[in-house]
């Protein structure tokens, strides 16, 4: 049998990540990490939200951005799926619509990394997001 990855290898990843001081400090202040939430309802998945989420994770890892990526339920914008919500440290969350891979790249390079605005923001009353 070939040697396959195991949880032992995960310990190496943990040590590697812990050695990155910035991330260690931020782990204790979770809210200081950039938070990415990908909407994962049926309409989202059917429009490619899984690919968008996978792409963002790969790119954020490649570019060593201190961010965490999670899933969220339907945000109520089925027409604009895939949708993602991004919260930069200390700022209000922003929701983007029609986030295909190309758009995801632009959002990472401009909005996530340098805080520059990009097109495709859905104006929202944030409170309605938590409902469903």
């Amino acid at each position: 049998m070939t040697k396959v990855k195991s949880l032992e290898d995960l310990k190496k990843i943990r040590d590697e990540l812990q050695a990155k001081v910035s991330l260690r400090e931020k782990a204790e202040h979770y809210e200081q990490l950039i938070q990415v939430k990908v909407s994962m309802a049926t309409c989202g998945i059917a429009s490619g939200a899984k690919e968008t989420m996978e792409y963002m994770i790969n790119e954020l890892d490649n570019k060593a951005v201190d961010a965490v990526v999670s899933q969220t339920g339907c945000m109520g914008y089925c027409y604009a799926e895939p949708t993602i919500e991004i919260t930069r440290q200390g700022e209000e969350p922003v929701v983007f619509g029609y986030v295909d891979i190309e758009k995801a790249q632009e959002i990472i390079d401009k909005y996530i990394i340098s805080g520059e605005m990009v097109d495709g923001i859905i104006p929202v009353n944030y409170k309605t997001l938590k409902d469903d």
């Binding site: 310990k11 260690r24 998945i45 965490v68």
Partner: protein, 181 residues
């Protein structure tokens, strides 16, 4: 949905919306059938509503008028000669059982199940998700709990962890000859 993996991802979203804390995803492949079981300890569905859920397009969603997840899954199982079974108890939880006949030409491919599971586990840090796969060549299992324990204090939704977990699941499934297409 284009793959069974996308269906699994979607069905688990129902459990999450029902405030489940623990979710079990079990796949068993043998004798040309693929048996998928998704078990949760969420709010459950009461007796009366359980009838409606079996009707197409029932939803308790407020953002949209129809529910598509279960009807689409049902259609995709039935067209292979398989079936979908939903068992639920209010305030206890729900068990979804989907059976596909994999020798049918109408059967969807399994798809990149390793991506779905890695995204579900790392994308839902507060949940405990157990994934179990078994076939004639062996079995594999992984759980949020053991990953979180190994990683402590690093967050499970760190991108590098997600990338690693996807590879770990993929290699282990390949090792027991799982056919993804």
């Amino acid at each position: 949905m284009r793959t069974i993996s996308e269906h699994i991802m979607d069905i688990v979203q129902n459990s999450i919306r029902a405030h489940a804390k623990n979710i079990l995803i079990e796949i068993n492949a043998k004798n040309q059938t693929l048996n998928i079981r998704i078990e949760d300890d969420g709010n459950g569905i009461d007796e009366q509503m359980l009838q409606s859920v079996k009707d197409p397009f029932f939803t308790t969603r407020t953002t949209r008028k129809v529910g598509l997840g279960l009807p689409l899954l049902k259609q995709n199982t039935v067209q292979t000669g398989g079936y979908l079974n939903v068992k639920s108890k209010k305030n206890v939880g729900t068990v979804i059982n989907a059976v596909f006949n994999t020798d049918s030409i109408d059967c969807l491919p399994l798809g990149d199940i390793y991506t779905s599971i890695a995204l579900l586990i790392t994308g839902n840090p507060r949940l405990n998700i157990d994934f179990k796969y078994s076939n004639g060549s062996g079995n594999f299992k992984v759980s949020s709990e053991e990953i979180k324990k190994t990683l402590n204090p690093i967050s499970i939704n760190t991108p590098k962890v997600s990338v690693f977990l996807k590879e770990l699941i993929k290699e282990n499934l390949e090792n027991i000859n799982v056919d993804f297409c």
